[in-house]
């Protein structure tokens, strides 16, 4: 166990935590740590920090722990926490802000999730729509989980639930332009 020097931690991370609050619209002081969010979170069982703990660490200025946590990546944005929160602390937005910040710094604690999201967006970039077979194929290939859910492919194929040829947006250029503008033109 290490002793955390709170004075140093909060001084060092004050501005980035302020940024996170501004970006997500969450006032960290609203949270009185009742834990209703964590208790109702469907994915809490896979998290290393409870959703409540993410806020607690940030309240204390302990930003590094949050940045490398799996929790923000696991958040399914199902909105259960904020719906039940007594102070309507918008945890999904906060998780989103943290995750985007982590990704900017190249920290991706769950490689698979990051990979899946990237592939999904690439899919949109190429086709304008999501193409499930291409997505799953690339995902299994690039993550090394070669056999995951492969059993479902024949069923999907023979029932025409999956097609080899993707359906595409006609005006692909406009979708690509949107993606380029948002992703390369600086984050909001």
């Amino acid at each position: 166990m290490v002793v955390v020097d709170l004075t140093k931690a909060s001084a060092k991370n004050k501005s980035v935590i302020g940024d996170m609050q501004a970006k997500s619209g969450v006032n960290l002081a609203d949270c009185y740590q009742c834990g209703k969010c964590s208790a109702g979170c469907p994915v809490a069982l896979a998290m290393d920090l409870q959703p409540r703990e993410v806020i607690r660490y940030m309240q204390l200025g302990m930003w590094d722990e949050v940045l490398k946590a799996r929790t923000p990546w696991l958040c399914a944005t199902c909105q259960t926490c904020v719906t039940r929160c007594p102070h309507q602390v918008d945890l999904p937005s906060l998780m989103e802000a943290v995750r985007q910040e982590a990704k900017k710094k190249g920290i991706t604690p769950i490689k698979e999730l990051n990979r899946f999201n990237d592939l999904f967006l690439n899919n949109i970039r190429y086709f304008g729509k999501s193409h499930e077979m291409v997505l799953m194929g690339l995902y299994n290939f690039t993550t090394g989980h070669l056999m995951q859910d492969v059993w479902s492919a024949p069923h999907l194929y023979f029932n025409r639930k999956i097609r080899i040829r993707p359906h595409m947006v006609k005006d692909k250029a406009s979708v690509r332009k949107i993606m380029a503008k948002c992703l390369e033109g600086g984050n909001k």
Partner: protein, 318 residues
């Protein structure tokens, strides 16, 4: 009843049954669903996990295209619905936001029209009446657990549809076509769809809890309104029944059951395409049952009932 229709990516793939059955129901009840021309993917969670502007701009492009038709938008998929509602809210919030999005899109978008989920438009009084008038064969008390999932009703301030903990619209529809909706506790719990692929272990635990509650409350089938929930539950049902043999019930889109009651054949709307065999249960439900079986009454709990009456009565004390 005329809407701009945004089918979403799953309509041509894993959720093709939703598309087929929705079209069938709409046609039967005289609802016009006009497909938005050249729509694109809403970006789903991947976009808003990555970049805020992208998560607004992708759905906004579709909405801008629908705005040319000057119609409110109907969206079958809960995830697309949530993203579009968020986009509408963002654009309506301020002129600055609207301009920001228009700058990205390079086409005008004023957020004049509203976005509704398909369940919403189908459970409105006029649609309900049309359904009622067209019932060919009722579902004869098939016990269904209406599963709304998370994004259809949450966050309440954004989607503005039904109750966040105990929604009723799908239950009412099911009751209308003769099914018996069961009371259960996981109507709006997340199915973990986004994690079934990337963190399967977590995903499975979530569906397990959910299915267990549905079955222990007597459900003979699950009804969903979201292609992702559907795929998730349907595809994993067999795996779940290995864990708990009670968990072997079919999963339907609500429109599939509506279509069946309105006279469609199971194959015509793709019920045979499910992972977990679903044709038999749906077809069997349409066969009238002997009278005594139909009246399955819940036992009245004396004190609980008294409690509710009490609040209404509000008598005086001296």
């Amino acid at each position: 009843m005329k809407y701009a229709y945004y089918p979403g990516c799953s309509s041509a793939g894993s959720g093709v049954e939703f598309e087929l059955s929705s079209r069938f129901v709409a046609k039967k009840i005289g609802m016009e669903l006009i497909e938005t021309p050249d729509w694109n993917c809403c970006g789903a969670s991947a976009a808003h996990l990555t970049n805020h502007d992208l998560s607004i701009a992708l759905p906004a492009r579709n909405l801008a295209l629908a705005e040319d038709m000057d119609l409110d938008v109907a969206v079958p998929c809960a995830a697309c619905f949530g993203r579009m509602k968020t986009a509408v809210k963002y654009v309506r919030e301020s002129e600055k936001n609207q301009k920001h999005i228009e700058d990205i899109l390079e086409i005008p978008y004023k957020a004049k029209n509203d976005v509704y989920c398909l369940l919403d438009v189908m459970s409105r009084p006029e649609a309900m009446e049309a359904i009622k008038a067209n019932i060919a064969k009722p579902l004869n008390g098939l016990k269904v657990a209406s599963y709304y999932g998370c994004l259809l009703v949450r966050p309440a301030g954004v989607v503005q549809f039904d109750d966040t903990e105990n929604p009723q619209s799908m239950d009412k529809l099911m009751e209308l076509v003769g099914a018996t909706p069961v009371e259960w506790a996981f109507k709006t719990e997340c199915c973990g769809a986004s994690h079934q692929v990337s963190v399967p272990k977590v995903g499975r635990e979530i569906i397990y809890r959910l299915l267990k509650n549905a079955v222990s409350n007597g459900a003979e089938a699950i009804v969903t309104a979201c292609p992702l929930c559907m795929l998730n539950l349907d595809m994993r049902m067999k795996e779940m029944s290995r864990r708990d043999p009670r968990l072997n019930i079919p999963v339907y889109f609500f429109t599939e059951l509506l279509a069946m009651a309105l006279g469609s054949g199971a194959k015509a709307i793709g019920i045979n395409k499910h992972f977990f065999p679903a044709v038999e249960v749906a077809e069997k439900a349409l066969i009238p049952k002997p009278v005594e079986e139909v009246s399955a009454k819940k036992p009245v709990k004396p004190i609980a009932k008294a409690k509710q009456e009490n609040t209404k009565n509000g008598g005086e004390t001296a």
